[in-house]
């Protein structure tokens, strides 16, 4: 399928929706070619290749009654039937003056570099070799790595086409590729899993299979002999991946959909100084080549850069057009076509390395991995199961696990006292490692 064909399908879906009785409509057609290979030891354990299409239509009728329809059945009769049913379904939805197509659609004018022919055209046999090479390297890296949950290479090439009844229509094509490895190490009757991955829009950006394997192997073995730490209040360094998970929680708190219904601890705090000087958080959909970049968002609004926290001060929430109208703001180009999503949402990196952060910590905890998920966005409470290292006199003294790290987001942001330089855009929500001056560690 070409961008033009995808756009024609989206445009015709909009026409069908209007014909079915909608006052306004928007259709997004996505078409993705996906490949995924997983190897274990010397065997290819999974080989998947498919093409997926789906159509997402939002319809509006009489004063903002709205219904969305998603379908993978693109036969015209089925689409027409689904759209008629949607118009009927909308009759019982409440009127809502804020529910409408966005006022101004468009696309970011600059070059975004979202497509890499080297990803789209790569030979399948080479991808299989990647997975097998990581399996070999991960076992060669450490004798304690005796097993694995697999090493994987995956890629996709996707077309997104969006059209609406205000006459907007545009499409773009993007690629994504990733490598990851999940070794299992065994020592003293205990098994431990490590995980490391690399991802990007461009093939050349990926870390080589050997790097992925050696980092994954290190993560599998480095926590052997871990102890449960004593319950205490200590400085905590969140390593890059774990720091990104904290940013995920912050993203929820600045999403206007949560702010509007009071499900955010930041709801009444716009303009307040909340974080330390080091907390500058940005959402930017216009960074060339990054995974969270795109020319327009899920409702056809041009992407842009939004300063969310500026040196600790909360400057903006993130909006789609609906919540922007509802809260008297302007959309920030964060629509997913039904919800609010991140573009590239990240904490500005600092100048010191992670090792320098550790070296400058007399006694504290380095968190390398967390499990669990916080659910209380309304109160801003953070609590996770964690594992990592106890830091003593600026060094990784010994591994620790089976503890929780807990705190309150407002206090955590205010206590950010060091940010590392290790930001990598391997997802749409990312963060460099950072240190929080004090949090509660619950152990024995």
């Amino acid at each position: 399928m070409t961008e033009r064909e995808a756009l024609e399908l989206a445009t015709s879906a909009v026409e069908m929706a209007i014909k079915a009785g909608a006052d306004a409509a928007e259709a997004t057609l996505s078409h993705a070619k996906r490949f995924h290979v997983e190897a274990r030891e010397k065997t290819i354990s999974k080989l998947e290749g498919s093409t997926a299409k789906s159509l997402h239509v939002r319809i509006f009728r009489d004063g903002g009654r709205r219904v969305s329809v998603s379908t993978s059945d693109l036969t015209p009769e089925s689409v027409v039937r689904a759209l008629h049913a949607a118009v009927e379904q909308a009759a019982v939805v409440s009127t809502d003056a804020f529910a409408a197509l966005p006022d101004g659609c468009g696309r970011f004018a600059g070059e975004l570099a979202l497509f890499d022919a080297a990803v789209a055209q790569r030979d399948d046999a080479l991808k299989v070799d990647d997975a097998l090479a990581m399996e070999k390297a991960v076992r060669d890296a450490d004798p304690r790595v005796v097993n694995s949950s697999g090493s994987q290479y995956a890629d996709s090439a996707a077309i997104i086409a969006l059209a609406n009844s205000n006459g907007f229509g545009a499409a773009y094509t993007s690629t994504r590729a990733s490598r990851s490895s999940v070794p299992v190490a065994e020592a003293g009757g205990v098994k431990r899993t490590g995980h490391y991955g690399t991802a990007g829009r461009f093939f050349a950006e990926l870390e080589p299979p050997e790097h992925v394997a050696s980092k994954a192997a290190r993560r599998a073995v480095e926590l052997f002999g871990a102890r449960k730490p004593a319950t205490a209040r200590l400085p905590v360094i969140f390593e890059r991946d774990v720091a990104a998970a904290v940013l995920h929680d912050l993203f929820s708190a600045v999403s206007a959909s949560n702010v509007a219904v009071g499900n955010s601890w930041l709801a009444e705090r716009l303009g307040d100084r909340i974080g330390s000087e080091l907390v500058t958080i940005v959402d930017d959909g216009t960074l060339p080549g990054k995974l969270g970049s795109s020319p327009f968002d899920g409702e056809g609004v041009a992407t842009r850069r939004t300063g969310v926290f500026e040196r600790g001060t909360l400057r903006s929430f993130l909006f789609d057009s609906y919540y922007a109208r509802r809260l008297g703001a302007k959309t920030t180009g964060n629509s997913t076509g039904g919800g609010i999503g991140a573009n590239n949402f990240y904490l500005e990196p600092g100048k010191r390395t992670l090792d320098e952060l550790i070296a400058s910590t007399k006694r504290g905890v380095l968190v390398l991995d967390t499990i669990g998920f916080a659910t209380e966005h309304a109160t801003g409470t953070y609590s996770r199961g964690a594992r990592g290292f106890m830091i003593e006199n600026g060094e990784r003294a010994y591994p620790i696990d089976e503890f929780t790290v807990a705190g309150n987001f407002a206090e955590m942001l205010a206590a950010v006292d060091a940010v590392a330089d290790d930001l990598i855009f391997d997802s749409s929500i990312v963060s460099p490692s950072f240190r929080i001056a004090e949090m509660t560690i619950s152990g024995s």
Binding site: S50, T71, S148, S149, E376, T379
Partner: protein
């Protein structure tokens, strides 16, 4: 959706290079949903998920391809893509596969052909909204959603199986947010199962809304959870999330066949206190986690996972069962035709023991009463788990005292199960709203539990004493 000959043709084509096994999973799922916010019907949605997934298995390798385009050319192309896994095999001859349609057990309402009238769903949401606000004046916001889904699956395999299952699923969820002096707290409950919205005539939206509002109001009064090791009493019903995470995932056969679970190779060994018995049951009528047949066409079963502390068996899909030389247990499940099946839980629960709830509480000097969990996660190889407590209370000198908020429980599966020192006589299945995630795939599950006491667990609160 297609006749038998099409399935046979696809299976034969998929095995053109050989292979041990092939199957075709064809799905058409229709969903219908509404969401309420601010006392209004905020939006409606509907969806159709339709497509075919074709798998070829060679030893421990699986080739997979799916197509949402149902033309015969597109489906044959998918069969060809799936067959590539067997490309290097010597045989290279297309073989003729025949399948025979078989009847499957009746486990839920299979007669319903479509969703109910839109007004009925809207009425359920409005009733929940009114009830939650009426329960406590501090309830400032109510969010609720209802969805109704009908999934038809047709599954054919190279060993001759050909089945059709028609699976209904309803769920109604209510979140209440209570506010006092700028402080916020929320409560969420959901209920449903493989049935129709007639379910809510007896499981009323008012009952759900009252519970959501009660939890929100209770959490407004809650003090920060204590931090450190203490006794824990897990509430009946929703406490079953503990079994799901602490034991269940570790007994899925993919991890055990590969030797990556801490339970690998331990069938017949003691893995828990002898008070602990755990079942996984795909056959409970109308339950959210039930399957008349799983997503490989194997009938759902009642499985004994742990019996009086001894590990009895794993949950098996066809691939891992074949490699381990045992029978599949009806545990092969997938999110949709876009995914390979995985061994998964259905309804996981512990039967009743001997103790009364009063005895269990009275025997606890200082501990946490975790009445329900908001969710959890486990790390398979070592067995470390985490749970978020949705509704929790302190137990002081044998009495339930103050509510606590934001408690997280952290522990290790076999360690916690060995520390089970009392099992209540009140086993119950939790309300049906749980969804389990594994390897990027989400499937509906059920959990159940009597009141259970664990002698020591780490509570990750913020109150350090």
């Amino acid at each position: 959706m297609f006749d038998r000959e099409i399935f046979e043709r696809l299976l034969s084509r998929a095995l053109r290079f050989g292979g041990d096994y092939a199957d075709v999973f064809c799905e058409r799922r229709r969903s219908y949903a509404f969401r309420l916010q601010d006392g209004k019907i905020h939006e409606g949605s509907s969806g159709i998920t339709q497509g075919v997934g074709i798998r070829v298995v060679v030893g421990e390798s699986a080739g997979y391809a799916y197509s949402d385009d149902l033309t015969i050319d597109a489906l044959l192309h998918a069969a060809d893509s799936a067959s590539l896994i067997a490309r290097s095999l010597p045989s290279g001859e297309e073989r003729r596969v025949e399948v025979r349609a078989s009847e499957i057990p009746k486990l839920y309402d299979e007669t319903r052909g479509s969703h109910a009238d839109a007004s009925e769903y809207v009425a359920l949401l409005s009733r929940a909204d009114v009830a939650a606000r009426a329960y406590d004046p501090r309830v400032a916001a109510v969010n609720a959603q209802v969805s109704d889904e009908l999934q038809d699956v047709w599954i054919a395999s190279s060993d001759g199986r050909f089945v059709h299952d028609h699976r209904p699923m309803v769920v109604l969820g209510v979140q209440a947010v209570a506010v006092r002096d700028g402080e916020r707290a929320s409560g969420y409950v959901g209920d449903g199962g493989r049935t129709s919205i007639a379910f809510y005539e007896t499981h009323t939206p008012e009952a759900l809304a009252n519970d959501a509002a009660r939890i929100a109001a209770t959490n407004l009064e809650a003090i920060p959870a204590p931090a450190g090791e203490m006794e824990m009493v897990v509430g009946c019903g929703g406490g079953g999330v503990l079994l799901h995470e602490a034991v269940g995932h570790g007994l899925e056969s993919d991890f055990n066949r590969r030797g990556t679970s801490l339970y690998s190779g331990r069938v017949g060994e003691r893995v828990a206190s002898e008070l602990v018995t755990i079942y996984d049951d795909g056959n409970i009528p109308d339950q959210r986690g039930s399957v008349a047949v799983d997503d490989e066409g194997i009938p759902g079963q009642h499985k004994v996972l742990v019996e009086r502390g001894v590990l009895r068996g794993y949950m098996q899909d066809t691939l891992n069962a074949r490699l381990m030389g045992v029978a599949p247990t009806g545990s092969g499940r997938r999110q949709s035709f876009r995914f390979l099946p995985q061994p998964r839980m259905c309804n996981t629960y512990m039967p009743s023991g001997e103790s009364t709830v009063d005895e269990i509480i009275a025997s606890t000097k200082r501990g946490l009463y975790a009445k329900s969990f908001a969710g959890g996660q486990v790390e398979i190889s070592k067995g470390d788990f985490v749970f978020m407590v949705a509704e929790g209370y302190l137990i002081e000198d044998g009495k339930i005292t103050r509510p606590v908020k934001n408690a997280t429980i952290v522990g290790n599966g076999p360690d916690a199960m060995t520390k089970v020192v009392a099992v209540g006589n009140d086993s119950a299945l939790a309300r049906g709203h749980y969804t389990c995630g594994k390897g990027g795939q989400h499937v509906p599950v059920g959990v159940g539990m009597p009141t259970v006491k664990i002698s020591s667990i780490t509570v990750g609160g913020t109150q350090n004493d």
